[in-house]
């Protein structure tokens, strides 16, 4: 790998940690408002969702701009989505519930919005542990199939966001619009390819 790419990767790695640093500063200075535990929680969830969106945006941006090289970062961006999702989960278990499993258990069973969070997380978790190159190679074709589940994860994450709210739906709405277009891109791409493929089939063989 050439040294320039290596440096750029390092910069990206550090830049992606800024939201976390920013969060620590807000905790230290008491900037999280009247319900800091919830604020912390939402902040981590937001960043997880943002990284999920950024990861999903890599392919469309690359195809539209013909700017090669972005896909070098896709793995790292995806892992950051996993990283913030893990912190989000840990914040729920430890910071919010102090590992009181009886309360956590009831909460999860009785809260459908959490089910969607769990689905979204389990998928991202599976993608994270299969992300190293050697796993990818050993998995062959099924790797790609598995990693397509990121689409399901993004939809589950959006439902998870929407379903916990009573009033202000502006933010989840914004993310759903973004994810809608990112997924629409895939659908259109698939359709175009499918049509091209059909055009390739010689007459009489349809």
């Amino acid at each position: 790998m050439d040294i320039q790419i290596k440096n750029r990767k390092l910069v990206t790695l550090v830049v992606c940690l800024i939201p976390l640093l920013w969060l620590f500063l807000d905790i230290a200075f008491g900037n999280l408002g009247s319900n800091p535990i919830q604020a912390l929680h939402i902040r981590l969830g937001d960043w997880s969702l943002r990284f999920l969106c950024i990861t999903l945006a890599v392919t469309p941006i690359q195809m539209m701009t013909r700017w090669r090289g972005m896909s070098d970062y896709r793995q790292m961006l995806g892992l950051y989505a996993f990283f913030y999702a893990t912190l989000h989960l840990l914040a729920y278990l430890v910071v919010d519930n102090n590992l009181m499993w009886s309360i956590i258990g009831t909460d999860i069973i009785e809260s459908p919005y959490i089910w969607f969070g769990v689905v979204a997380y389990l998928i991202v978790f599976a993608l994270a542990i299969t992300s190293p190159k050697w796993v990818m190679k050993s998995m062959g074709k099924s790797w790609k199939k598995l990693h397509r589940l990121i689409y399901v994860s993004s939809i589950a994450a959006i439902i998870h966001y929407f379903w916990q709210l009573k009033g202000n739906l502006a933010e989840p709405l914004l993310y759903s619009i973004i994810i809608f277009f990112l997924l629409l891109f895939r659908v259109l791409l698939w359709k175009t390819r499918h049509e091209l493929k059909e055009m390739m089939i010689p007459k009489g063989y349809e």
């Binding site: 009247s34 910071v95 919010d96 102090n98 009181m100 809260s111 379903w163």
Partner: protein, 316 residues
């Protein structure tokens, strides 16, 4: 009896003199110390009982009130904003003077009253209540006010009065959501069954933490029903109607499967999308567990009788 001033449009009710009178009046009621001027008293963390307040047996004196700054800066006041931390600033242009309250419907003595005239008839009490929001957080607030029953008794409900409907002021010039038709149908409406309304725990609050209510907390007059979710405790009330039939209340109308008319705090009846089993207490630190929510928010001993033989799952 309250002196009635029937059929006076609210726009004509109080001029500047009345406003001055209100301040004088409230100051007198609040004793002297904390309120040299009302705005500065808001800024101070006035100690509970800076006013000469009657002690109430209904107060949960064992509970420690949540720090006032948290209570003042975390309010669901959708007329101003859907964001709990923005209403403090946005509510500051809200006009609370003059204020009149209409009592009408199935009562012997309907009428429209200056808030001052109402307060003159009442003994203000401090009551520390736990306040539980349907969103899963709670706080402990020392409210200042009086039992709604005391006011209703003066209006003399007829035997046909089975429900009470409360309406918030329509003030679109200061309330952006009313101006722009945001989210809910305005004005905000809430309701209680007559026996719930007459229950001594049900109070009308004009203050908290030994001072008058901040605007974002529902000034100048709000309902507090401690065993129900917070959205029942309607703010800035201008109208109380006694009705034969149940009123259609705002959240119930907006999402009938999610927010019931009763809205009693109940850890065993989940909201369709989230559990109501536990709550985050404002003011508790990181790494403290959520609090186990209590049936009727801990007021079961006083109010469970009201719901005897009722299926609380059905009448949620």
């Amino acid at each position: 009896m309250i002196k009635t001033q029937k059929k006076i449009p609210s726009s004509e009710i109080t001029d500047f003199t009345a406003f001055k009178e209100r301040r004088k009046f409230i100051k007198a009621m609040l004793a002297t110390a904390a309120s040299a001027s009302i705005p500065s008293a808001w800024a101070n963390n006035a100690k509970p009982n800076a006013w000469n307040l009657a002690k109430s047996d209904l107060s949960n004196t064992a509970l420690t009130p949540t720090p006032i700054e948290l209570v003042k800066n975390y309010t669901n006041y959708y007329e101003f904003t859907l964001n709990k931390e923005d209403s403090t600033k946005l509510a500051q242009n809200f006009i609370t003077d003059p204020w009149s309250l209409e009592i009408s419907g199935e009562v012997e003595n309907p009428g429209s009253y200056h808030l001052e005239d109402i307060l003159r008839q009442q003994t203000l009490e401090e009551r520390i209540y736990r306040f539980r929001c349907v969103e899963g957080w709670s706080m402990v607030v020392p409210w200042v006010g009086f039992s709604l029953a005391n006011l209703l008794k003066m209006a003399k409900p007829l035997s046909t009065a089975h429900f009470v409907k409360f309406t918030t002021i329509q003030q679109p010039e200061t309330m952006p959501s009313q101006r722009n038709n945001v989210m809910l149908e305005w004005p905000y409406v809430e309701g209680l069954r007559i026996d719930e309304a007459m229950h001594p725990l049900t109070m009308l609050a004009v203050g908290m933490y030994g001072d008058i209510l901040p605007k974002q907390n529902g000034a100048p007059l709000r309902l507090v029903v401690p065993w129900k979710y917070g959205f029942k405790s309607i703010k800035a009330i201008v109208k109380i109607e006694l009705l034969k039939y149940s009123p259609l209340t705002t959240w119930n109308k907006a999402a009938p499967t999610e927010y019931g008319f009763y809205a009693n705090v109940n850890p065993d009846v989940s909201h369709p999308r989230w559990s109501q089993n536990s709550e985050r207490q404002l003011g508790s630190g990181f790494f403290t567990s959520r609090r186990q929510t209590e049936l009727f928010n801990g007021y079961g001993e006083q109010v469970a009788e009201l719901y005897r033989d009722m299926d609380l799952r059905h009448f949620f």
